[in-house]
């Protein structure tokens, strides 16, 4: 047990070190800070007219943006992690030592997630403090940010696990990169477009009432956004698919359960794929 933890810690430490050296830590934090600040001060952000605090409003729009950014950063951090080691022939070296495959995978997962968590926490906290400095703070808004950060990490965890699965599924970094772009496009962009198209065609029929809510929370990005918007309890304006946040046929916590289920499934799939990798 102790040996297992030591080896996992060794893998985690080396992955974090690599991310620091390769400037991934600085870069992902910077991206999140910049986008969050831009959203807070440049966008359709707090107009000051509504009763809702500026903090809450930026949290709402940031929830939408996070769906694009966090998965992308998570995938970028992790897609190379195993395919790269296969290509460089370091995987045989690692797997010739007493380390178990699940320990390698766990260590990598924790390492990448730590980097992402750091970026989210630091990046969004800086943005939140900036909003507070300009517009003042309120408890409701602070809670919204805390929720955003916590569920953002969960969303990130799902996509780090997906990235690792992708990486374990191919022996080529190039293929992994192509898969990464494809997965991001399908899960984050095309899925929503397809749902919207379905809503328009169906025009309030069976699809809209029964299938649609389930399909929305079946997607990790949508589940994340839905949970955050629903938790704001009608205090922020919503549009498009997110209208569902007002009329959820189930408790918002189910969206969290969906995210957790995604995480478990992706980790299990990653472990299974990695067992089959021939170093």
């Amino acid at each position: 047990m102790k040996a297992t933890l030591n080896r996992i810690a060794a893998v985690t430490a080396i992955e974090i070190r690599l991310s620091v050296r390769n400037r991934w830590v600085a870069l992902s934090t910077l991206i999140l800070v910049l986008f969050a600040l831009a959203l807070a001060f440049l966008g359709s952000g707090p107009a000051g007219a509504s009763k809702v605090g500026a903090l809450t409003l930026t949290a709402a729009s940031l929830a939408t943006l996070s769906v694009y950014l966090i998965p992308l950063i998570a995938l970028l951090l992790s897609y190379e992690t195993i395919a790269g080691e296969v290509e460089r022939s370091t995987l045989p070296l690692v797997l010739a030592t007493p380390v178990r495959r699940f320990e390698v995978l766990t260590g990598k997962f924790v390492g990448h997630l730590s980097v992402l968590t750091l970026a989210i926490v630091v990046g969004y906290s800086i943005a939140a403090l900036a909003v507070v400095a300009v517009h003042g703070a309120d408890l409701h808004g602070a809670l919204a940010w805390a929720r955003l950060i916590a569920t953002g990490v969960l969303l990130g965890a799902v996509f780090v696990a997906i990235g690792i699965l992708v990486s374990a599924s191919t022996a080529r970094v190039g293929t992994a990169a192509a898969l990464l772009v494809g997965i991001w496009l399908v899960l984050i962009v095309l899925y929503d477009l397809a749902l919207l198209a379905g809503l328009i065609v169906d025009d309030g029929g069976f699809f809209t009432k029964s299938l649609f809510p389930a399909l929305v929370i079946a997607n990790p990005g949508d589940a994340f956004r839905l949970y955050n918007l629903a938790a704001l309890e009608g205090s922020a304006p919503v549009a498009g698919i997110d209208g569902l946040a007002r009329s959820l046929p189930f408790p918002p916590s189910l969206a969290l359960a969906a995210l957790a289920a995604w995480l478990a499934a992706m980790i299990a799939a990653g472990l299974w794929r990695f067992q089959k990798v021939r170093p």
């Binding site: 040996a3 080896r7 810690a9 060794a10 070190r17 690599l18 022939s89 045989p92 007493p98 170093p279």
Partner: protein, 303 residues
């Protein structure tokens, strides 16, 4: 009775689809032995290593590492491996990488650091691997393999890219380890290189073990002829040829082949010719000839 071998390979066959990468290979390596694996490109050397590590499953036959199955905990604690063409992450330093592998092997990073000294890259310990020369990276790979005093070292073409001095250093380290009881299995393309530095040599050709033994045994088994070149005193190879046979080379010389055992008899016959002979050259088969013979790439002759 317990088996004294650290590595036991019995009737091992490995296939990749229809390609037979290894075919009924058997060999055993004992503690303290330096064992060289030779063979042409694609002969199956790396495949043999990878099978011993448990990365590749045999189609038939058996591999045992210290009596345990490849890839088992016991086997992994026994072996250390240096793959061919390993590329460490460029952004990390030598010391960081060594510490990492030490932790994976259940050793403290501190205990591994002296190995950088052993392989002669202590000066570069805190430099990024991206700045290392090929030889330095190879040395780092060796340092990594030495962590935790493994009982069995598997080194796949460890000296490729090393200059002659570094090669010497490298084999000196192996000699010392073998003296302390470590079994060393290494692959190479050059018989000349491993001749004086290993105890036993095995030659793989197209997945089959075609020869195994000490260098002297291999040379004997190859039974390559000794070539004697005789130069006539007067420019009269014809007369010489008439008396000793063989092949006429040019106007002055005659060349003949004889079995290694007959060498002395042939020489004394030539010596008895007295003044007719101006000079004698003897070509004993070189290591590369022995290697070629077994690799099935003989330079000519039987075809």
């Amino acid at each position: 009775m317990s088996d004294p071998s650290l590595l036991d390979v019995t009737g091992l066959s490995v296939a990749f689809g229809s390609l037979k990468a290894l075919h009924r290979v058997s060999l055993a390596v004992r503690p303290g032995e330096r064992f060289a694996l030779l063979g042409h490109n694609g002969a199956g050397k790396s495949t043999l290593f990878r099978t011993v590590l448990g990365f590749v499953s045999p189609a038939s036959g058996k591999v045992e590492v210290a009596g345990a199955a490849p890839g088992s905990d016991k086997a992994r604690r026994t072996v250390s491996y240096l793959p061919e063409s390993v590329a460490f992450p460029k952004a990390l330093t030598g010391a960081e990488l060594l510490a990492y592998f030490a932790r994976l092997k259940g050793q403290t990073p501190k205990s591994a650091m002296p190995l950088l000294e052993t392989v002669g890259i202590a000066d570069a310990a805190n430099r990024r691997v991206g700045t290392y020369s090929k030889g330095m990276r190879q040395r780092l790979g060796l340092a990594q393999a030495l962590i935790g005093r493994p009982e069995l070292l598997l080194l796949d073409e460890p000296t490729s890219g090393l200059d002659p001095i570094s090669r010497g250093d490298f084999y000196a380290i192996l000699d010392r380890l073998a003296g302390e009881g470590t079994a060393v299995v290494l692959s190479s393309h050059s018989l000349t290189e491993v001749e004086a530095r290993t105890d036993r040599i095995a030659i793989l050709s197209r997945g089959r073990l075609v020869a195994e033994g000490s260098l002297a045994e291999l040379a004997r088994a190859a039974a390559l002829p000794v070539t004697v070149r005789v130069k006539a005193a007067a420019e009269d190879a014809g007369a010489l040829h008439a008396r000793i046979g063989g092949r006429r080379l040019n106007g002055r010389s005659v060349e003949l082949d004889c079995a290694a055992g007959d060498k002395m008899a042939v020489l004394s016959r030539i010596a008895a010719l007295g003044d007719v002979v101006a000079d004698i050259d003897i070509d004993t088969p070189r290591l590369d000839d022995v290697y070629r013979h077994f690799s099935g790439h003989s330079a000519g002759g039987e075809a």
